[in-house]
Structures are given as C-alpha cells and as structure tokens.
C-alpha cells in the first residue's frame, strides 16, 4: 500500500492462490523466478511491490497475464477473484 498525493493506492496480488493451484511452496516459486523466499513472502503480504520484471516472471511462470496475478486498485475495494 502506498500513499500518493493523499490517495491510497492498493496493489494486490493472487500469488498465493496461483501457488496453491500449482502446489508450490514459497521457496520453490522463489527458486523458479530467481529471488529469495522472503521476497515472495513480502509480495504475498502486500508489503513490497515487485519490479515489473519480477511481476512478468511470476505471471509467465504461472502461464497467465500479469493483470491476472497483480491487480492495481485505487478505490480501496479488494478485487474479486475470477474463480
């Protein structure tokens, strides 16, 4: 979550869901995309927004588009999952 010009911007992601679908641990996903497990954990918890490169790597790994994994939402309402 960032505060930018008084507007609260929420960056959410569904990494945990896709990880569960692919039966992957944080450590395994981290190895696949070349980061540490702590980085995956920080992204999942919404404490860290990944770089565009890492976001693409994660979404490509799951075989989906980047928008399906990462959701930009500035109205503060959590986005609905498609399934």
């Amino acid at each position: 979550m960032h505060e930018n010009s008084g507007i609260v911007i929420l960056m959410k992601n569904r990494i945990k869901v896709y990880r569960a679908l692919h039966d992957l641990s944080q450590e395994a996903l981290a190895q696949k995309v070349g980061v540490t497990r702590q980085t995956i954990l920080a992204i999942e918890k919404g404490r860290y927004d990944p770089s565009l490169l890492l976001a693409f790597k994660i979404s490509r790994f799951f075989g989906v588009s980047i928008e399906e994994v990462f959701l930009y939402d500035d109205d503060g309402i959590p986005p609905r999952l498609p399934f």
């Binding site: 070349g34 980061v35 702590q38 980085t39 954990l41 920080a42 404490r47 860290y48 890492l54």
Partner: protein, 146 residues
C-alpha cells in the same frame, strides 16, 4: 552470523580502536595505537569469515538502497550542524565561565580528526539500524510459510 551483526561488531571494534588511539595520543605512545589497530583488523577479518552469504535480489537491494539514502540524509544534516557549530565557536568564543573550555588552537585539528573518525562509526550504526527497520517494514525478516 547475519550481516547486521557483522556491522555492529565493526562499529564496536572501531569505537574500541578509536578509544585506544585517543588514549595513545594522550600519553604519546604509538605502540598502543598500532597494536589496537592490528587487533581490530584481525577481529573484523575473523568476523567477516563468519558472515552467512545471503542471496541478493531486488528486495535486498531495495532495503539497502533505502537504508543508504536515509543514512546519507542524516550524514548531511549531522556534518552541516557540526560544521556550523565549529564556525560559530570560532567566531564567538564561549562565554564565562566556559571561555577556557574551548580547546587550544593546536588541539582543534586533532579533535576534528577524532570527530571525523567517529562519524563513519556513528553512520555505520545508523545504517545498520535503518537496514533492520526496512527489513522489518518490507517483511523480509518474517519466516512464516502459508
């Protein structure tokens, strides 16, 4: 050993070496300064060998970057305040009864040297503190697997 612990060890060793060098300059004994310096270097070298190699990625870079920027900001404020203070004292000597507390001109350069030696040590502690703070903020130190 974690990297932050290593930085703290460097800071403590540096303070001890600086203290020894100060004492050595007071009693005019260069041997003490030399021996303490060699012991300090050895301790830092031995500590360095025990540091766990961590995999660096964009989050660790981000934490390092944020901590370094904050440390630089503090360094700028601190050095500016120090310089201004020294200029003010050089223009206006301390009022009575402290007028004799200001160091003699021949000691000012030495004191400046020690201050400049102390500053990097202080900044090392500040940097380590910020590293810890941002690691916690970004959840890097969390361990739970869900």
């Amino acid at each position: 050993m974690k990297k932050n612990i290593y930085f703290i060890i460097i800071g403590i060793v540096s303070i001890c070496v600086l203290g020894s060098v100060y004492i050595a300059s007071e009693i005019q004994s260069p041997d003490i300064a030399m021996i303490s310096f060699l012991i300090g270097v050895t301790l830092v070298y031995l500590s360095r060998r025990r540091v766990e190699e961590t995999i660096e990625d964009e989050l660790t870079h981000r934490i390092t970057e944020k901590a370094a920027l904050r440390t630089l900001q503090i360094a700028l404020v601190f050095t500016t305040a120090l310089a201004l203070g020294m200029i003010v004292f050089s223009i206006n000597p301390l009022p009575p009864p402290f007028e004799h507390h200001f160091p003699r001109p021949d000691r000012i350069i030495g004191n400046m040297g020690f201050t400049q030696l102390f500053l990097p040590v202080l900044l090392l502690f500040v940097y380590t503190g910020f590293r810890q703070y941002y690691a916690r903020k970004f959840g890097y130190s969390d361990t739970d697997e869900e």
